[in-house]
Amino acid sequence: MELGKDSTLATGLRKVTSVKGISSSKHWSMKENLIEKLLLAFTLLSSILIFFIIFFVISRGFPVLQASGIHFLTTGGWDKQFTTAWLAGAKQNVATFGALPLISGTFYTTLGALLVAVPFGLGCAIFLTEMCPAWLRKPLESAVRLLAAIPSVIYGLIGLIVIVPFIARNFISNEMALKMIKICALDGTSLLAGIIVLSMMIGPVFITLSSDALMAVPRRYKEASIALGVSHWRTITRVMLPVARKGIMTGAILATGRAIGEAIALSMVAGSVANLPSPAHGLVFFLEPVRTLASTIVDNAEGMGVVSCESALFACGSLLLLSSVMLSVLARLVSSRVSREVR
């Protein structure tokens, strides 16, 4: 190991005794201090960034949030309002917007995807950690990880080429489309397609995290249970799942965050119409097009530059940001140590 030219054993020994680097050499301690301050500055920058983003996004969205008030959350008509605001351009000050269709679109797609991905994902995680034949385990694991790494735009592409035409061919009849024509066009891009694509995207994330959690259950817990004559299945449900509960819940929360924030894939397959699907329509509900908050920002990005449109997009951004912050806090509450790494 190379020693610094100006370092002597004496200063070194003094350094050991004084941890924070108070050394005899003035020049040294100044340099050390400077470096520490510099590193601290970078660190502060990284942790203040989130506050700056929250402040900036909400302050940009504030005009629309203020003008619309509670109606932003409870009324619809986004597409029309957006076009009006866009055409009015700079003449109009701030328009009111109603984002209810977007919020419910986000809610339905996320909830649907969770209802599909969490049970299947948990089953798959149990299969992966407990039942899988040894030769199958490695390939299955790498396949799941590969799926987690595929960019969202490619899921969107697959959805648009495979799933959307499939839905259009098999579930949508001409009469149905005619009946709905006053409300929305049924062309296969739908809530259902959004849910399918989204659950394919968040499934791998959830499987990876929950199988990690199951894998981390100490072996002796399982052995003790088996030794008592408890069946394998009962051991899984009564011993392993409760122990791994925290990790599994964290996985579900992270998957929810990813589902809420997904923009590109959903703007491709879910229809890109700010339509409020109504459960009153029966099963057609699932075939109606929806648009989420995140995909609205992508679809209406050309509105950036027109003050009220931009503010409306930032209002959507504020809702997304608030929900993501809340999920992060929730994840922290659920487990003190959150592993955010999903490779």
Binding site: E130, S152, H232, I264, M268, V325, E341
Partner: protein, 308 residues
């Protein structure tokens, strides 16, 4: 009897979901390979995209590949020093007190922010005229305004997006360096920073590289930021020819195309409707990301062996 039934149902359900997942994974992968491999040829990889509605005439993906490489390079350039400095502070100087943990919490929350929020944030910040150096000025409008879309802007936004992930990975790597290494260095009289610089960082190199590669994978695969902050053009919009050194800076200040925006543009959702080309570009992108992932795996194994 009821117990046995429940056991059977449980096992069957787990087997079913496992096999279903495997089937879906395999079919997606096989589907992408078959669809993509039909299109990929030397010509496809080395021709520029052409604006054409006819799929046969729409050219190749050379510009998007270069765009992805450029964006990844710039993004890493911004993210690497920032993340490394943060990781060093958090692991070596910070300690484990309330104050440092609140700094960590801020970075953790950043990890959950959707990329689309970063995208509008970046776009709006960089339209500020004071930051016009990152992109170009908009000509002919009353209020001075920057365009806010360029390689530099997207790279910086990407850097903010990957920062928490890269920092976390690097911090873990630095923490994993045995305490004895540091003690040995202190004992022979080396200052704290010099110890970090000469002993800790070299020992943590593989972990740090792993962090960078994770960031690279995320940058290469992100679409939302590219679509908003780089736009959907299919060519380099800076002065031509863009590859001569005098124009490099201008190229970076202007917009271009990456593989992800090419896939979006060429999909039926975009303007250039040529889905086969989109699958080709998608397969190239997946191969790049797959290669990066295996590199991470390889480095991970290498570190474990060295430590063990």
């Amino acid at each position: 009897m009821a117990n046995i039934n429940r056991n059977l149902t449980g096992h069957a359900a787990c087997w079913f979901s496992g096999v279903l997942t495997l089937t879906i994974c395999l079919s997606i992968i096989v589907f992408l390979i078959i669809k993509g491999a039909n299109v990929i040829s030397w010509q496809f990889l080395t021709e520029n995209p052409q604006p054409s509605l006819q799929e046969a005439l729409s050219g190749g993906i050379l510009i998007p590949i270069i765009g992805t490489i450029l964006l990844v390079g710039l993004g890493t350039l911004f993210a690497f020093p920032w993340a490394l400095a943060t990781a060093i502070y958090l692991s070596e100087y910070g300690g484990d007190n309330q104050w440092v943990n609140s700094l960590r919490a801020g970075i953790d929350v950043l990890a959950g922010v959707p990329t689309i929020v970063f995208a509008i944030f970046g776009l709006a910040i960089f339209t500020h005229p004071g930051l016009s150096y990152f992109s170009t000025m908009v000509e002919g409008v009353a209020n001075a305004k920057a365009f806010g879309r360029s390689f530099l802007v997207s790279a910086f936004t990407m850097a903010m997006m990957v920062l928490p992930f890269v920092t976390k990975s690097m911090e873990e790597a630095i923490r994993a360096v045995p305490q004895t290494y540091k003690e040995a260095a202190y004992a022979i009289g080396i200052s704290k920073w010099r110890t970090i610089y000469k002993v800790v960082l070299p020992a943590a190199t593989t972990g740090i590289i792993t962090g960078i590669i994770l960031g690279v994978g995320r940058i290469a695969g992100d679409t939302a930021i590219v679509w908003l902050c780089l736009g959907g053009s299919m060519s380099m919009t800076g002065p031509q020819p863009w590859w001569i050194p005098q124009n490099w800076l201008d190229t970076m200040q202007n917009t271009g195309s990456t593989l992800t925006s090419y896939v979006y543009y060429s999909s039926p959702a975009g303007e250039g409707n040529s889905p086969n080309k989109a699958f080709g570009a998608g397969l190239v992108l997946i191969i790049i990301i797959l290669a990066l992932n295996s590199l991470v795996d390889y480095l991970g194994k290498f570190t474990r062996v060295k430590e063990g």
